[in-house]
């Protein structure tokens, strides 16, 4: 029973500061610009241009021209946000009010709380750059991700109409199915790391090279080479399951526009709809962060020195810490780019194909992969 009582006030302050930094300075801007990137990249892939001219409307204040050429559409997320905030927040008469209002929050909050255990940087100012350094990090991520389905299910159910309901039902069965392969595909990695703590996972990768690219520490042993196979398999299975968990195409059946209009958020408008939107993208960011931490070495950059607790207090240490935080989010951004790229390439699965893929292939592959890893770990020292 000793958590908040006897820790000094500045630790609480530091946690609050880290949380605020993570949510307001990193994740929310990252979310809005991911949406923007999604629109631009999808347009470019389809030989269009996308939103490329939203500027700040300084002509409202008497200037001759808007600042649009300089910005080239970068003002779009702000315009979107303003539009969402100003739109009429319409609640249809046939919905179940309480749950209808609760659902968007439940969709948004879990995605953001996942970020609490993700180590997004090295030591900086004598602080570990993670909000909560718990020893069950990865399990916490899975637990919170599994709660994320409530928002969608409730939205579908409380809307009291056909399409949202179908979307909600699809979402719950899909998420339950893919949670299994998600968890199981992470097991080989955790066996190699020998730990559930995410900071320790990165420390391991700093010493032994990233799991996905084991040569980043400069040498490649036989053990690493053999383990590369299961790690690669588990990376593929994990990423595919991550796509399904975040309802991204090719697994976006809960909100497929063509058959279910928009699935579970058909009845939502204005900021409540925006919360679903933000939740989905925040979940994408959280998923990419987990992949980064588990497979891509987190904040580590090969052949760059690593801060220790002491060196992080100095000025070069602070710079290095900043570089590492940037590296982490750069990796996340690359993964988000892949998310977008895949979405605008692949068509949607049929629901039976989705279930078949999850239960008949990914689940078994992940299971067998655990035994392969165990054998390699036991036989090759």
């Amino acid at each position: 029973m000793a958590l908040l009582n006897d820790i000094p006030w500045f630790l609480i302050a530091a946690s609050v500061a880290k949380t605020l930094f993570l949510i307001f300075l990193v994740v929310l801007p990252l979310v809005s610009y991911t949406v923007y990137a999604e629109r631009r990249v999808s347009a470019l892939i389809q030989d269009r241009l996308g939103p490329n001219r939203t500027g700040f409307p300084i002509s409202l204040f008497g200037f001759k021209k808007d600042l649009q050429l300089v910005l080239g559409g970068l003002g779009q997320p702000i315009a979107d946000a303003v539009k969402f905030l100003l739109k009429e927040d319409f609640t249809p008469g046939h919905v179940n009010k309480v749950y209808f209002w609760m659902a968007p929050v439940l969709a948004m909050v879990p995605a953001l709380s996942t970020l609490a255990v993700l180590p997004f940087g090295n030591y900086m100012f004598g602080q570990k750059m993670v909000v909560a350094d718990v020893n069950v990090g990865i399990l916490y991520v899975f637990a919170i991700a599994s709660i994320g389905v409530y928002g969608i299910v409730l939205a579908g159910w409380s809307s009291n109409s056909k399409y949202p309901f179908l979307g909600g039902i699809r979402a719950s069965s899909q998420m339950i199915s893919y949670e299994l392969s998600l968890g199981l595909s992470a097991v080989p990695v955790l066996m190699i790391l020998g730990n559930l703590n995410l900071s320790d996972a990165i420390d391991y990768q700093v010493k032994n090279g990233w799991l996905l690219l084991p040569f980043t520490d400069g040498n490649l042993t036989l053990r690493e080479l053999l383990l590369w196979v299961p790690v690669l398999i588990s990376f593929i299975v994990f990423s595919i399951s991550m796509f399904a968990e975040t309802n991204r195409l090719p697994f976006d059946l809960p909100e497929s526009e063509t058959e279910l209009v928009a699935g579970y958020h058909t009845e939502y408008s204005s900021m409540k709809f925006a919360l679903f939107f933000l939740g989905e993208y925040a979940a994408m960011i959280a998923g990419s962060s987990v992949i980064t931490v588990l497979f891509l070495g987190g904040w580590h950059i090969p052949f760059l020195p690593v801060n220790t607790l002491e060196s992080s207090m100095t000025a070069p240490g602070a710079v290095l810490g900043l570089v590492h935080i940037t590296a982490f989010f750069a990796k996340v951004a690359v993964l988000l780019g892949i998310f977008i790229w895949v979405r605008w390439t692949l068509p949607r699965f049929r629901f039976d194909q989705l279930m078949k893929l999850g239960w008949l292939y990914l689940f078994e592959i992940a299971l067998v992969n655990i035994f392969i890893t165990a054998a390699i770990l036991a036989l090759v020292r």
Binding site: M1, L3, S146, W157, S172, L196
Partner: protein, 167 residues
């Protein structure tokens, strides 16, 4: 954990538990149960038992209750909402739960070790995952495997039975 947080989560958990029983809408009951599971997990966190807390959320709130909710929504239960108030059942239920609470208090009173705080473990970070694993696979390996086989038998049985039903 500070007493404030402890009491906050305890009271919240009890409130959610009461609303499970008092709510007429099955979905509301299921959600209240999820809420009380989450508060229970928070209490576990207060005991530094992160593993148990996370498993509590992962298994009960994340998997079992989602399935419950799924079924409730599919069946669209309305009977419970139409049921009338039954004083006999109320009195009976109150008596049973009152007796249970009294019994619990009695047991706790006659259990002196419960009234004093445990000494601090003196470790920075308790590796509870590893401890649970060692306990399961070293000391309770046979019961663990037996339970596993039992669950397997049960699930195969469900598949076989539901298959036969279809024909």
């Amino acid at each position: 954990m500070s007493p404030v947080l402890f009491w906050a989560f305890t009271l919240l958990m009890l409130a959610f538990g009461a609303s499970v029983v008092l709510n007429r809408n099955p979905v509301a009951s299921a959600l209240s149960l999820v809420g009380s599971f989450l508060c229970l997990a928070a209490l576990f966190v207060g005991l530094d038992a992160f593993f148990i807390a996370v498993i509590q959320v992962l298994v009960y709130a994340g998997a079992v209750m989602v399935l419950f909710l799924f079924i409730i929504m599919l069946l669209d239960l309305k009977a419970e909402q139409r049921r009338r108030f039954n004083p006999v059942a109320l009195v009976g239920g109150a008596a049973v739960s009152g007796a249970f609470v009294a019994f619990l208090l009695h047991v706790l009173k006659s259990f002196p070790a419960g009234s004093q705080a445990f000494p601090n473990l003196g470790v920075e970070r308790l590796d509870d995952v590893r401890l649970v694993g060692f306990a399961l696979f070293n000391h309770f390996n046979l019961p663990f495997q037996t339970v596993g086989v039992l669950v397997l038998v049960a699930s195969i049985g469900v598949v076989v039975l539901s298959r036969r039903e279809l024909k």
